[in-house]
Amino acid sequence: MVEHPQSLLEEELRKPEEVEIGWPWRLLVFSFFIFIVVLITFLGIKFGYQPYLDNKIKTLDSEIDKLSQSVSQSQIDDFIAFYSQLSNLKVLLNNHVFGSNVLKFLEDNSLKSVVYISADVDARLKGIKLSGVVPSYEALAQQIEVFRQSPLVKEVSFKKAQQNEQKEIGFDLEISLADNFFKEASALPSSSNISVPAIPEISPSVISTSTNKSTSTHQ
């Protein structure tokens, strides 16, 4: 019978099983290492990093205190008052009311035949209430049209027209003005070049039912 040489695999299989006794030591070393790492981390945080942070907070606090004391409170108060004055002044000047614009507007946009009796101007509501007399309903309609065509007017509300004993027509008008009406006069568009359309024969009934888009009637 021919003996075959044993293969390496067979040799290995024939060897008795060796019990690994070293591995628990490796586990022990590993777990000890973990323990030491955790311990060092704790000690490092507790006695190294935390005091460092505490100290840094104290240093920053003292620096902030020192910085805030570098300018006196009275200087700051004075400056805030000055700055408040400037800031508020800017707002007040932007909203500064030029009430005389109303008079200029009426002078520029009134027919010669119109006589105003009273006026009530409110810059907050941006409106004028006018009472006056005109020689005829035609003149009144023309006057309303002049107001209506002005870029400074939003709306003309015709309130009342009544013939008096002198055969004049007394009227009440309310004019709603543009938002920038009471701003400085030089900033406003001029209405002197507005062409006033000639209004042909207009009867009182036409005035009382005036229908243009920006003229409302409340008779």
Partner: protein, 190 residues
């Protein structure tokens, strides 16, 4: 010592170390880590405050040095918007402007309004208070026109927010009118 005993001992010790590490982590490191995270946040916040404060203080010092050199402007601005109501001064100015314009002052009323907040969204800024003067005057149309022009261009800011014109004595066709004029004067609030 037998090999098996050694193995058991080393496994037991390993377990002790691992459990000890876990206990140390859970009982000491985790809580202290929270404190550390909080303190780091505080440090970051303080550093930001410090840097911002430094920038503000530098800017403030620069502005303060400019401000010290602007005493004439300060005076001028205080005339336009005084730091207190200065009711008597405003009253005197209005009556003088009216009489210089040719208006005859019949009565003057004054009401002080509450101080409004500054329109800028900055809580440090002080608001503006206003004094509402109600003047009843008589005079010509030209006098009113002159008076309005004067108060519009006055150093102290006056706003003629409303006025009523009516014929004096109820007669039309004359150049004598009654004027009820409301004028607002302003001052810096506290």
């Amino acid at each position: 010592m037998k090999g098996s005993t050694k193995r058991l001992s080393s496994i037991f010790l390993s377990a002790v170390f691992i459990i000890g590490a876990l206990i140390m982590y859970a009982s000491f490191i985790k809580p202290i880590y929270k404190t550390i995270a909080k303190e780091r946040g505080e440090v970051a916040a303080r550093e930001k405050i410090l840097n911002d404060s430094k920038a503000i203080i530098d800017q403030l010092k620069s502005m303060l040095s400019d401000y010290q050199n602007l005493s004439a402007l300060q005076d001028q601005i205080s005339l336009s918007l005084p730091k207190n109501p200065s009711t008597a001064t405003a009253f005197y100015q209005l009556t003088q402007l009216a009489s210089n314009s040719g208006l005859s002052v019949e009565s003057v009323g004054v009401a002080q309004s509450s101080i409004g907040q500054s329109q800028e969204k900055d809580t440090l800024l002080k608001g503006v208070g206003s004094l509402k003067f109600t003047l009843r005057t008589t005079g010509s149309y030209e006098a009113l026109k002159l008076f309005l022009a004067k108060i519009e261009n006055n150093v102290r800011i006056f706003d003629s927010n409303s006025f009523k014109i009516a014929p004096a004595g109820g007669e039309k066709g004359t150049n004598a009118f009654n004027f009820d004029i409301e004028v607002d004067a302003y001052y810096l609030g506290d």
